[in-house]
Amino acid sequence: MNKIWVIAENTFKEAVRDKILLSIAVIGFLLIASSKIFIPISIGEEPKIIKDFGISLVEIFGVIVVIFVGSRIFHQEIERKTIYSIMSKPVSTLEFVTGKFLGLYYLIAVVQFLLFTIFIIFCKLYLRTVDIYLLNILYFLLFEFLLLDALVIFLSCFTSPLTSGIIALLLFFIAHLTFYLKGLTQIIKVPILVVILNSLYYVLPNFSVFNIKATVVYNFPITINSYLLAFSYSILYSLILIIFSSFLYSRKEFP
């Protein structure tokens, strides 16, 4: 367990040193701050627009951080040739991949807390009030990013940084639309296609589990089932992906 934490900590430190992360944090800060420009043109919907805008930016910048940093996470080790020193030590691939996964998650959690705090400060400045209910968003976002983190790690094990980044981004969008696949099975009458669509529906990650933005913005109650589903779905799916990732990584040949 100690080896995993060491790898995780190093991954976090390396990412923090990365200039991309700083740029993303600064742009995120500026964009959340700039939500004020929507106030005069929002035709009576200022609170809603500021909340929607802030929550979405916190999520968008989280996605960017996971994809930018995550897709290069293994590649950097090979590029800097640090992988050889790690692999020569008594570290299993499962420990190495899990360490990388947790390091990236540590980073994304810090970024999310930072951006969310900025968002709450601007809510207080612009709307003169802070809605504690908004904290629910953070809970669901953290589980969404746990799964996205695992997905990016999984993709990075067998693709180049650019390819894994693009595929992860596409999968992020597709994962919000999987309910359409279920809808299609009701319309399509070809049995083989129904089987394929149903399989895709269950195999592809379903990010609508974590999408409670409307519920929070409109102050609707969140059921305990939603909290439990987000928690269990994210943990289980991520664990499966990490196991597959370590398996794929163990078969990788280094130059």
């Binding site: 929507f38 043109i41 929002s42 035709i43 009576g44 919907e45 200022e46 809603k48 627009i49 929607d52 805008f53 929550i55 979405s56 999520e59 968008i60 180049s160 650019l162 390819t163 693009i166 992020f172 969008f173 919000h176 639309l177 359409y180 990010f207 609508s208 999408n211 933005k213 409307a214 913005v217 409109y218």
Partner: protein, 261 residues
């Protein structure tokens, strides 16, 4: 090679997006509504950011409305825009309350406004504001007090509905209460509006009602009333409407709204 293949896949996806999404647009208007492809398609491309897109489209619709209000005063796509926004965010109440009033009064599309309100009532059965707006449009725009009364009554049954809503339901059925109802409806619109467009609209509406009563007084009495107090004392006005920051007054034989310095 892999990158080229990826680029090719993305190009094909983009081509499909344009082919499917922009089908409904008339050729000459494509630039104006570039961000408003077909309803189903918009929903399928948000990637979970439905609310954010709905907000951007709301702002875009405001710009579209403002642009046409300054020029040709024609709004052929207003309903479509509101329809997409409410597809993305069915709880976007301002579209149902304020948007439908624009649709009925400025775009002169009261049938489409009613259609949008029906959609809003299906998605938000708990809100009193939507049936209330439907009653408003039936009363003010469609001049159908019987139908208006029905919707005011439905609105009054909803939780959180102000007491005044039930009074509206009764007043619509009494002819003598027409002026009071119209004034109170416009004052209500003023109260719920934080946008310049609707504040202006409610002031214009009140001025119109007062002008009609001023003309009626002249027709009945053969001389002009000197002030709104005269109209009130003679029973032509149930009360003198008050709006913060200004007052309604008679100047040069005309009812105007005078901004206070």
């Amino acid at each position: 090679m892999k990158r080229l293949l990826l680029a090719l896949v993305l190009i094909i996806l983009l081509a499909l997006t344009e082919k499917e999404g922009f089908k409904w647009l008339p050729k000459q208007k494509r630039d104006e509504l570039l961000y408003f492809p077909s309803n189903k398609f918009v929903k399928a491309t948000t990637g979970g950011f439905d609310l954010l897109l709905a907000d951007f489209l709301w702002i875009e619709t405001g710009a579209y409305f403002g642009k046409h209000r300054q020029s040709d005063k024609r709004y052929p796509y207003l309903y479509h825009m509101f329809d997409i926004i409410t597809d993305l965010d069915p709880k976007f109440v301002s579209v149902y309350t304020l948007g439908t009033i624009l649709l009925a009064t400025d775009a002169n599309e009261s049938e489409l406004a009613i259609k949008l309100l029906d959609k809003g009532m299906t998605d938000n059965p708990e809100l009193w504001q939507i049936p209330f707006t439907k009653g408003f449009i039936y009363y003010i725009h469609n001049k159908n007090p019987k139908e208006a009364s029905k919707w005011f009554l439905l609105a009054s049954y909803k939780e959180d509905a102000p007491e005044m809503v039930q009074k509206f339901a009764t007043w619509t059925l009494y002819r003598g209460k027409g002026v009071e109802l119209a004034l109170r409806l416009y004052l209500r619109l003023y109260e719920i509006s934080s946008s310049e467009i609707f504040i202006e609209k409610s002031i214009k509406g009140i001025t119109k009602v007062l002008s009609d009563q001023y003309k009626l007084f002249h027709k009945d009495k053969g001389y002009f009333a000197q002030s709104l107090v005269d109209l009130y004392k003679a029973g032509y006005l149930p009360f003198i409407p008050q709006i913060p920051g200004g007052k309604f007054t008679i100047k040069n034989d005309k009812v105007i709204f005078q901004q206070l310095q």
